[in-house]
């Protein structure tokens, strides 16, 4: 008994669900049949005809066709989901006749169905849906068959930005129209655009067999140059932006080194691993938030930054106390010892967390970006890192030049004995300065976790770059580090456009080697009479 009631309840529920899912139906039987059965061309024509009238209910039907869940009989058309048939015309549940046959669609039909679905979404009441549909259609080739529905959408559209994009879409669909005046109008409209896809479209019309009218060909060529002019700006700005973005990452990575190497003269080959520890700390904080406070997930980064600073600084302090302080004044030995430390740290992380990369998810506000022009989008995470690098730089500068600790550090750097004579506890300053450098490396790792992979090898890939920045910038000066980081970032990205990523990197390295010949002390050398050894 009980089973029976459950079962009947379930059936009732399913029926309700079907009713709810079914929208207002206005597809007539003849149309549905024409779309579902017959010769391919005729089916597509019928489909386009229905799209032009933007029949409600067509979307469900087209989707069902795409899903291969439509069956036909001699008289009826049915949509079948999970053995439950629905009449495609009325939308009411129906019993599926035994002689129902599957409708099969070839690729051409599928393409037409996809376009039809996008076209239908153009007239959706939801702004977001319409916008997504315009995005979809702008990506592909504009289908002249969609002209009626696009026109309808333009007439209905209230959002100004979307309306102008629709106009452009219409022009793109019209550019191959048989009517010359329409084509000319389309070309003129499209020449105002600055989008790479429009350029490709115009270019394709310049092919020998595409546009034959000489006057129109001239108009097309003119339009291409106009679009190119706009695109070139976007590209130039894009290179500039990616260059600055890379420069800001290099700056973050090298700032810590500028302190440990530039100020203290310690070659810390484990610098990259301190960054890796910062990145893993970020990962850990992220996991804690996900587990204990999923609601505050977007704010985890606020805690991750100080946490990565503290953890890396603590590791740095331990290293300084345990190993590096015995090696002051012996830079080559320090280099080898810190290399050993980096191996141990890397293997340690591998043992603890596995050799695979771990996944650090951006806070949601960091995904997406600002579209400045059609071919230039500034991602929020990159912008955030540029701002973060500037902040860290400012804080470091203030700490070194405006605080008592900074004064002590500079004093010890310039003359250790004299500083000691004036009562500065030099060993404590050494530890603090090294921990500061390590902590900055940790924050750099936190920033890197937002744009790249986090794995045990994270530090290795940056170690050569970061040393190059410090060597190029010259020791003992933050200004040199900043200039070198931005300069190398920009140079790398500009060369990348010309020669490709690998050759660009090689050129940059060779440039540094040659540059150091000319100025062995880097961009900014400390002036003074400090004699070499």
């Amino acid at each position: 008994m009980r089973r029976l009631t459950l079962r009947s309840a379930f059936i009732a529920l399913a029926a309700v669900l079907v009713m709810v899912a079914a929208p207002a139906w206005a597809l007539d039987a003849a149309q549905a049949r024409a779309i579902a059965v017959g010769d391919g061309d005729a089916r597509i024509a019928a489909l386009q005809d229905a799209v032009a009238r933007a029949d409600p209910g067509l979307a469900t039907f087209a989707q069902a066709l795409l899903d291969d869940s439509v069956k036909t009989t001699a008289t009826g058309v049915f949509i079948v989901h999970d053995d439950k048939a629905v009449d495609a015309v009325t939308g009411q549940p129906a019993r599926l006749p035994d002689d129902a046959e599957d409708v099969s669609n070839n690729n051409r039909m599928r393409g037409a169905l996809q376009t039809a679905l996008s076209g239908l979404r153009l007239v959706s009441p939801e702004l977001a849906t319409r916008r997504a549909a315009v995005d979809d259609l702008t990506k592909g080739d504009a289908d002249p068959a969609l002209l009626p529905v696009i026109a309808k959408a333009i007439a209905r559209e209230t959002d100004a930005g979307l309306k102008s994009r629709l106009e452009r879409l219409k022009a793109a669909a019209q550019i191959a129209a048989p009517d010359r005046a329409q084509r000319l109008q389309a070309i003129q409209l499209l020449s105002n655009s600055g989008e790479p896809t429009v350029r490709a479209l115009l270019q394709s019309r310049l092919a020998p067999d595409a546009e034959t009218d000489l006057e129109l060909r001239a108009a097309l060529a003119h339009a291409v140059t106009q679009v190119d002019g706009r695109l070139a700006w976007g590209e130039r700005l894009g290179v500039l932006f990616t260059g600055i973005s890379l420069g800001s990452i290099l700056l973050l990575v090298a700032l810590g080194l500028a302190i440990t190497y530039g100020l203290m003269g310690v070659i810390n080959m484990a610098h990259g691993e301190l960054m890796m520890i910062g990145a893993y700390t970020t990962w850990g904080v992220q996991n804690l938030f996900r587990h204990f406070a999923p609601g505050l997930f977007d704010a985890y980064i606020l805690l991750a930054v100080p946490a990565s600073f503290v953890v890396s600084a603590a590791v740095g302090a331990i290293l300084e106390r345990g190993v590096i302080r015995f090696l002051y004044g012996r830079p080559l030995e320090t280099l080898l010892a810190t290399w050993g430390i980096s191996l141990v740290l890397m293997q340690g992380v591998r043992s603890l967390f596995g050799a695979q990369n771990v996944e650090v998810e951006n806070p949601s506000w960091m995904s997406g970006g600002i579209a400045v022009t059609s071919n230039l989008v500034l991602p929020y995470n990159r912008l955030a890192i540029i701002a973060f690098a500037a902040l860290v730089l400012l804080a470091t500068w203030a700490l070194i030049s405006r605080t008592r600790l900074g004064l002590f550090v500079r004093g010890v750097t310039q003359n250790r004995r004299m500083a000691s004579c004036t009562g500065i506890n030099t060993t404590r300053i050494d530890t603090l300065a090294f921990a500061l450098g390590a902590g900055i490396a940790g924050m750099a790792g936190c920033a890197l976790s937002q744009v790249g992979n986090v794995g045990p090898d994270l530090g290795q890939s940056y170690i050569v770059d970061s040393f190059m920045v410090v060597v190029l910038g010259g020791v003992g000066q933050l200004a040199g580090t900043v200039l070198a980081a931005l300069g190398l970032g920009l140079m790398n990205k500009m060369l990348e456009g010309i020669a490709g990523a690998v050759l660009a990197k090689i050129f940059v390295l060779i440039f540094i080697v040659v540059f150091i010949q000319k100025r062995p002390q880097g961009l900014f050398a400390l002036k003074g009479r400090s004699a070499e050894s």
Binding site: A337, I506, Q517
Partner: protein, 378 residues
């Protein structure tokens, strides 16, 4: 700066002989082991016999002897001249690639694609060999390249670097950048040296099967003889006046300059010599190990060379060879028995040697000797 080993010179009367009686006996003993004992144990003693030395053991020792040549080269520039290179892997790989090109050509028509071109070129759909491969069919020409390419690359780099008096850590970092750039360059398929797969699947050398036990043994003996020859050469250098200037440069370069010597000539010549030694080591390494790829140029590989020299003892000539055997022996044991712990061990070795054993294993020996000496006196 660097804790220098005291300059030990033989008495005037014996200087022409390079080594003392015990030294020469040791060299002859080593030669006998390499050229007679190991070939006998490997080829003549049957496989079941407990005295039989397996192919694996022979290959391992051969590989380590190649590394020992590199360690010796590192010692000449670091231990005796005070220049730490973090980029000698580049020269090792360049020598290896020069040899590898010849071995690739020796595969001839027997590659997977049955083409006259090396397989990777067929794979990249190249129709002809690039100009860099022009002489690769000739053994003599490629052997000249084994020496010439590292010599030219190191010569040009060294001339610029030493002329502008880049030294110390700056120099080390720049050498690291150079080998890193080389690695990136060789990783590219378009560079024409097999991209990240490098060269492998060698079949023949000088028309003889490369896998045959006798070929392997000839290569092994050749490597051993080269090592001993380089050791004697290094000994001669170190004992000569030239070698003493090198050590003076290590200890106080400015003073050497002020007394009228030009450090550039000395530093450049020893720098090029050490690069060539690494190149030759690479050329011996490739046919025996059977592969060369750009990872030999990674900064990590070059730093490892420094640790071989440091573990054995810088500023002694036997030390680097001992160090190469110790570190690589430990590596092959660890990576089989406890692969997880190899990096811990290597890292700890770096730290321990720099902190507690600035003069390496040879330093322990001296220390023990000294303690004994004190006891005897007391």
């Amino acid at each position: 700066m660097t804790p220098a080993a005291p300059v030990q010179l033989l008495p005037e009367s014996r200087r022409g002989l390079l080594l003392g009686v015990r030294g020469w006996s040791a060299v002859i003993g080593v030669l006998a082991v390499i050229a007679v004992l190991i070939p006998l144990l490997n080829l003549a003693v049957p496989a079941g016999n407990p005295l039989h030395l397996g192919d694996y053991g022979v290959a391992l020792v051969a590989k380590i002897m190649c590394y020992a040549i590199c360690a010796l080269a590192m010692d000449l520039i670091w231990g005796y001249t005070g220049i730490l290179s973090l980029g000698h892997g580049l020269y090792f790989a360049l020598g290896g690639y020069a040899m590898g090109m010849y071995l690739m050509r020796q595969i001839g028509h027997d590659g997977n694609y049955r083409s006259d071109l090396p397989d990777f070129m067929v794979f990249l759909d190249w129709k002809a060999m690039p100009w860099t491969w022009a002489g690769s069919a000739s053994f003599v020409f490629q052997m000249i390249l084994v020496v010439a390419v590292p010599a030219v690359v190191s010569g040009v780099f060294g001339w610029f670097a030493f002329r502008s008096r880049i030294k110390g850590v700056y120099f080390s970092i720049i050498t690291q950048a150079l080998t890193f750039a080389g690695m990136l360059l060789f990783f590219r398929n378009e560079t024409g040296f097999g991209g990240n797969n490098g060269f492998t699947d060698f079949k023949r050398i000088l028309g003889i099967s490369i896998a045959a036990p006798s070929t392997r043994m000839v290569l092994f003996v050749l490597t051993g003889l080269t090592l001993v020859a380089f050791y004697l050469l290094a000994r001669a250098i170190v004992n000569s006046k030239y070698g003493r200037v090198l050590q003076a440069i290590r200890d106080a370069e400015s003073r050497v300059m002020f007394t009228g010597y030009d450090p550039l000539k000395y530093k450049l010549s020893i720098w090029v010599l050490s690069a060539v030694m690494c190149g030759i080591a690479g050329a011996l390494y490739v046919p025996q190990v059977g592969i060369i790829n750009p990872s030999e140029m990674s900064p990590a590989a070059s730093i490892e060379m420094a640790i071989w020299a440091a573990v054995g003892g810088r500023g002694t000539l036997v030390g680097p060879i001992v160090g190469a055997f110790f570190v690589n022996g430990a590596k092959s044991w660890f990576t089989q028995a406890f692969p997880e712990f190899w990096l811990y061990f290597l890292g700890a070795l770096f730290i321990a040697v720099t902190l507690f054993l600035p003069r390496g294993i040879m330093g322990i020996k001296d220390r023990l000797k000294k303690e004994k000496g004190v006891e005897v006196k007391a």
